[in-house]
Chain length 497, copies 2
């Protein structure tokens, strides 16, 4: 027999303030942490979605268009068939014993699944070694070596739950107290600021140059470093996101080398977030890894600058966010430090096995002649080409709007336009107790159903206002995103100018 | 063209000490963290495994028997068929469009997979909401309500990557500085000590009573609390592991109520690690959840004592460690605090989707009449009954050895015998710079190939020595574990007495 107990009846019996985990007693570093990508706007969007189901006439739009997060499969991207078939067979190897089912599958699916299983030491249900399955780290090694032309050691590779776990693990090792400085770009992906806040370290912000396509100049690094040092901060690491999130720029090899030389001079570790390495849309640009640039520099740099690179199954063309697969690679890291990375990750036992397998499938794709090759290549190219078209369409549309300027989305999955907000609206936003970009995003959501993230969630130069929007809605929807935004923005400007 | 660069050539160019992440510059809380379950012994076992492949004659045993970790599928436990089939179809829904494959699958597999997919908002490849898919939290709610007879709210449920992520998230919210005390049992599962060390909190150890089947008495809680308070420690939380890890005891309902009353008196939050709730082997005992015990107490306790309960897909009969599935439930937690839990987990975006689905399959099993019911029940019962037999066999074998005493493994997956080590060996171990139990475990591994974990990795009363061994090797192997141990121990005692 079920007995219901109302929630939050605490205060009837004791004062709230005596609670062990009363909000006033929470670790302030956790309380101060911000993560805008899943904040109040997203909760409002969820409320609207519920209203659309129960009382559709109540809202001025017919559906929610989620552009707040790089989550392609939540907005219609169909997963690549080959990786999913392999993973399904790894998940239920008993299906491979069924001759009928087996004969329905492409031969390379069966071969790949059986190869992973045979080398897994217990399949998808067993903890793997803490670094991840060796056979998968071998695949990652081959991928990196082919990409960069320099050798990789599987002992320097660690599979992680997405890139986020890797980033947090490294930051946790670096930050001893609030005098340890971690340099992050502004704008940045808020995982960095959140993790630094949670660990009690010092965030050292360096600005990307919006007027130079969000370029990273060592001048800005110098400025940020000088200011931090004047505050008694010891610089420990420099985080770089390439291609950029939320900013979509792609760094050149020579720019990367400048940054590495700067890190060498300042003795800081480089954390290279390269999760968008496959998402380069501008045919004139190409992705260069920090590892490759580093290894091609003179030996006294190539063999000394400490680098940790991160990759993920969530982005690229694969877009397997839900699998939480990723890896990190250590370069020029002290062997005892590497042992500490091992120990840190071993407390979590291992990253999830389906995610590990997805890493394997990301780095080792069907080859010409394989039974799945043609269909895989078609699916892959279709997604890539569509992302490329959508990036152009969105940025073009944004730049047509009054007072909106947007750099090209050469890479990644986002546009980060600047919006010249009328002074009257800025005052209105202030009276609502929020920055103008946040207020703008709420207005946009309430009027159009489009959910984006205000620039303040990523950081921006004082006095400027931005928003981040993905271009992930499918092609039949992305035009509508631009149209609804444009219509809203025109009315917004009319109302507040 | 590949260019190799030797690792660790740093010192040729610069002094190691100038490295940004030189071991001397690592956050000391991370350096001080210990996690014995995957420490030096396991690495030695991996070396032995390699030697067995390359030079089998070199070692006095023919295989490694891993008893160091609760990882059933790594030592031969076959995964339950129904959950894996459902998960495989969720992973590759395109297979369900193939009529041939579809017709080979039990109807309830197809129905369940399609139901999950239809309610997932993008399948296994999309980030879910940060708390986890609502449809799965609904299943968890039903499971808890049926288990306990009290209502549950899905807003109080959060799906996590295993139980570990949940435990760490809560501890991170509790610990502000080294004056915040977290009470943990000794012996304990080292996730707790590792996380408290990493966060810089105060570990407050309370001892379980080995002479009373590892019982938890409030007298021991009083002692630990008094000592901590004398050191200026503020008690924040009390961690309880039931059934016990590494100790295998099962708490009675009345004992749980005593503990809750104690927590009410001391105003501490209870963290109830209940990942072994299905692993109760003694027919005279049954699992009682802290939630149920709490809700059945007088209202001023039932509605005020703060409780967070944890569960996992890794243990039980399911044993799906590699899936990293788990959940936590908040009880009597302040709504603003609950928002902070949400924010903390949202920085990780969400737990992995295959793990979420495995949670669903754990809490919602085939029912009588379902096509998969009979085979599922047989597989389930076979595993459970075998675990029960193995627990008895191992503990009985251990108790026959000279100077070894072991409480019953009424629950969980481990035995934690005490070993009376001869004084001569204790001196020898000291000369090797390690505790006697660690030295014993190395000797055991080198002589027999059996890998266990020394008691010092879990904590034990000063001057006593234990080891933790699982009883997870399959039935044809567990007898051999006992035999090899017995033979080794007899010779060990002869040599050192």
């Amino acid at each position: 027999m079920m007995q219901g107990i109302p929630r939050n009846t605490w205060a009837i019996f004791r004062p709230f303030s005596s609670q062990a985990l009363h909000p006033s007693k929470i670790n302030s570093r956790i309380k101060n942490m911000e993560y805008a990508v899943r904040g109040a706007l997203v909760l409002r969007a969820q409320d609207h979605a519920k209203t659309l189901k129960t009382d559709p006439g109540k809202l001025p739009f017919k559906d929610i268009l989620l552009c707040n997060i790089g989550n392609p499969q939540s907005v219609g991207q169909v997963p690549l068939t080959f990786p999913r078939q392999v993973l399904a067979m790894c998940t239920a190897p008993s299906l491979l014993d069924n001759e009928v089912i087996r004969s329905e599958l492409p031969a390379d699916v069966v071969v790949r699944a059986e190869r992973i299983l045979a080398n897994s030491g217990g399949g998808m249900g067993a903890y793997s070694e803490s670094k991840g399955l060796e056979i998968i780290r071998e695949s990652v090694k081959e991928y990196i070596e082919k990409r960069d032309g320099y050798s990789t050691n599987i002992d320097d590779l660690f599979l992680t739950n997405g890139a986020s776990e890797g980033v947090k693990t490294l930051l946790n090792m670096l930050v001893r107290d609030d005098k340890d400085g971690i340099m992050i770009p502004i704008p940045q992906y808020p995982l960095y600021s959140a993790a630094i806040t949670a660990l009690g370290g010092a965030q050292v912000s360096y600005y990307l140059d919006e007027s130079e396509d969000w370029g990273l100049s060592t001048k800005m690094l110098d400025q940020a470093a000088a200011a931090a040092k004047a505050d008694g901060i010891e610089l420990r690491a420099l985080c770089v996101i390439n291609p950029g999130n939320p900013t979509g720029q792609v760094m050149t090899e020579s720019n990367i080398k400048e940054v590495i030389a700067w890190a060498a001079k300042e003795n800081v570790l480089i954390m290279a977030d390269e999760v968008y390495q496959t998402n380069v849309y501008d045919p004139a640009m190409e992705f260069t890894s920090f590892k490759k640039a580093l290894r091609s520099m003179p030996d006294d740099v190539a063999n000394t600058v400490e680098l940790v690179s991160f990759h993920s199954t969530s982005k690229g063309v694969l877009g397997e966010c839900g699998m939480r697969g990723g890896y990190l690679e250590l370069c020029n890291i002290h062997p005892e430090t590497s042992e500490e990375v091992y120990k840190s990750l071993s407390v979590n036992l291992c990253s999830n096995l389906p995610g590990q397998v997805m890493v394997d499938l990301m780095v080792s794709q069907p080859k010409p002649g394989d039974p799945s090759y043609d269909s895989y290549k078609k699916e892959f190219d279709d997604i890539f080409n569509s992302l490329q078209r959508r990036a152009l369409l969105l940025v073009e549309g944004l730049n047509k709007m009054e007072g909106v300027t947007c750099n090209a989305s050469s890479g990644a999955m986002y546009a980060f336009p600047q919006i010249q907000v009328p002074a009257k609206f800025e005052a209105e936003a202030a009276s609502r107790g929020m920055p103008a970009d946040t207020a703008y995003c709420f207005e946009l959501l309430d009027a159009t159903g489009i959910c984006v993230v205000p620039g303040s969630g990523f950081g921006q130069e004082e006095g400027t206002f931005h928003l981040r929007t993905t271009f992930l809605p499918q092609e039949d929807k992305i035009g509508e995103v631009v149209e609804r935004m444009d219509k809203f923005h025109t009315e917004f400007m009319k109302k507040w100018s």
